[in-house]
Assembly symmetry: C2
Homo-oligomer: 396 residues x 2
Amino acid sequence: MPAVPAPAAAAPPSRSSAAALGPVTPQSMDFDEPLPLRSGASLRRYRLAYETYGELNAARSNAVLVCHALNASHHVAGTYAGQPKSEGWWDNLVGPGKPLDTRRFFVIGVNNPGSCFGSTGPMDANPDDPEGRPYGADFPVVQVEDWVDAQARLLDRLGIGRLAAVLGGSLGGMQALGWAMRHPERLGHCIAVATAPNLSAQNIAFNEVARRAIVTDPDFHGGHFYAHGVVPRRGLRVARMIGHITYLSDDAMEAKFGRDMIAAAPRYSTQEIEFQIESYLRHQGDKFSDYFDANTYLLITRALDYFDPARAHGGSLTAAFASARCRFQIVSFTTDWRFSPQRSREIVKALLDNRLAVSYAEIDAPHGHDAFLLDDPRYHAVLRAYFDRVGQEIGA
Amino acid sequence: MPAVPAPAAAAPPSRSSAAALGPVTPQSMDFDEPLPLRSGASLRRYRLAYETYGELNAARSNAVLVCHALNASHHVAGTYAGQPKSEGWWDNLVGPGKPLDTRRFFVIGVNNPGSCFGSTGPMDANPDDPEGRPYGADFPVVQVEDWVDAQARLLDRLGIGRLAAVLGGSLGGMQALGWAMRHPERLGHCIAVATAPNLSAQNIAFNEVARRAIVTDPDFHGGHFYAHGVVPRRGLRVARMIGHITYLSDDAMEAKFGRDMIAAAPRYSTQEIEFQIESYLRHQGDKFSDYFDANTYLLITRALDYFDPARAHGGSLTAAFASARCRFQIVSFTTDWRFSPQRSREIVKALLDNRLAVSYAEIDAPHGHDAFLLDDPRYHAVLRAYFDRVGQEIGA
């Protein structure tokens, strides 16, 4: 399948009218009925943090759910009042005049259970613990389908029966696919970017090394480190460094850092920083260990490992999509070696086998897996055009 | 450049006569004169562990030096008496009737200084320490060129003025290239397999994550853990797991492990083993942490990082090879994503720029970087043919 050509114009006309979202405000919703989980366990009660941008129209037909990946949250777009640098993680895509235009769509971001940004997660009190101690490592294993169900319940509460579209990248893309299979009557379109129908052995291997780094950090204390007043920072740093290597393409890393050293002459040290790439990775690791919860890292990488909709259908992805009814836009990036275009093509094939409507864009971009978060003009042009058609369909 | 076709016959005739080497015996040589290092430091005195296979001919013209990579040693081939499973790391290549035939060649394996298998390394007493404590993290940074010089001194002592050939894979290939540049008058042929003219940013990144895992293990004690009676096992395990992922191709890992689980039903755990690939990696990490020295891991990965012969020549690899006089066989493997064929082609180009004689074989093999240690028939046929010509040249 050919790569998507560059758009003829430097930027679509509507782009010039892109404006910032006004200050956004996180919200939350409490659920007292248990959430049954695919593992057989359940979440007794839980809170979901979410944000919305734009206005729900009178027909309640213009809602778009945006699903987040490993280290993101419900804060998809906009900034918080008084915090000018607090842009949401997909702010370049979502806003007034942007490809997912909040003047036309009512956009919803939800933090998934098990995460550490406001929805119920391992740092919260375990209702089954008589002393109300945090879940820690006892937080139940959550899977992509569980998140989809939790998101569906939030939509019920918000009075949204049907979504115009679900959008997600990477692990968020898996949730979008999960929506199409699990709640086919509740969405018109599924847009899945830089994702895969399941993890490869190599993907699982990287996750496992990261988890071992965390779990074997003496400050992990079997996942109950909160009570010890410590954080398994060493493990989190190593986990994030590994992750970062897999998010960037070999070429992008070479172009950005190459073999550049931090000083004119080598220091000849095995422990001091010598190369720029080392400095960059250590910085990323340090930052991450300041804000991310170790138990959440374990849970979310496991959700990635477990995702495998074909498994319940004898390994047939085609059979897994038999229930789907919506239309699809699948996007991959040529240099993404984490979830390569080949993995997206597997999805496309399974959808076509089911005679479902699918557009596929393989974007020639140098940035590897991270490309799905970046402002690549060809990529954004594809999503802009797609959402434009979705908007026309619903009269938004 | 085309991949090497499969040989017409299943195996060359001489292969049927391949026999096991008799029991081999490690030897060692002590050096009292200091070894000046490229960093400006020096190794005051040192011991080199080595092994030899076959017989040095009367003309002393049939010696072949085999250089080892990260976790190997001087024990290249054969077994130790009474230890039937103690085959050397390149036993499938080196022996009577094997591609590097010990009936024709006198083969030498040397353990490099800084390693942990018999040559002077971080576990040995530091002669500058008044109490004779181990070097630990104070062992000086050693580079590929330092190892080449140490190997050259061993050859002086063995009365070998000139090598028929130097052979190495991966980091060993860098040493082979170093020989060609540094002692051009002392070798007839350089065979460099699955190697690179320097590490890419991504290569350095993986090394750095592995080092951080070791250095931040509380049992590392700043590199002086020997005095504490502990070993930074957690860090070594993670380091080895990361390494293993980069040694195998994505496809080979998929073919060998895929998404196979260790039990019929999922356990739904973030810390227990769930997938076969996890079990394999943990096992590799455990084994490695039982025998490998943490300070050696730091030193050897740094030697990889620093290797960059073009650097002293304004970035020109062609200029770096201007001193070379020998003939070259360069080999790469299509699925090696650690040191890809592209990196070998850079070497080939620099050699051709210097009008040096070079054969290049790009072997279509599924096993990734590890292929250089495996018994691939096309790969071994290339080396067999090359060493056959070397043998004919010297009348061996």
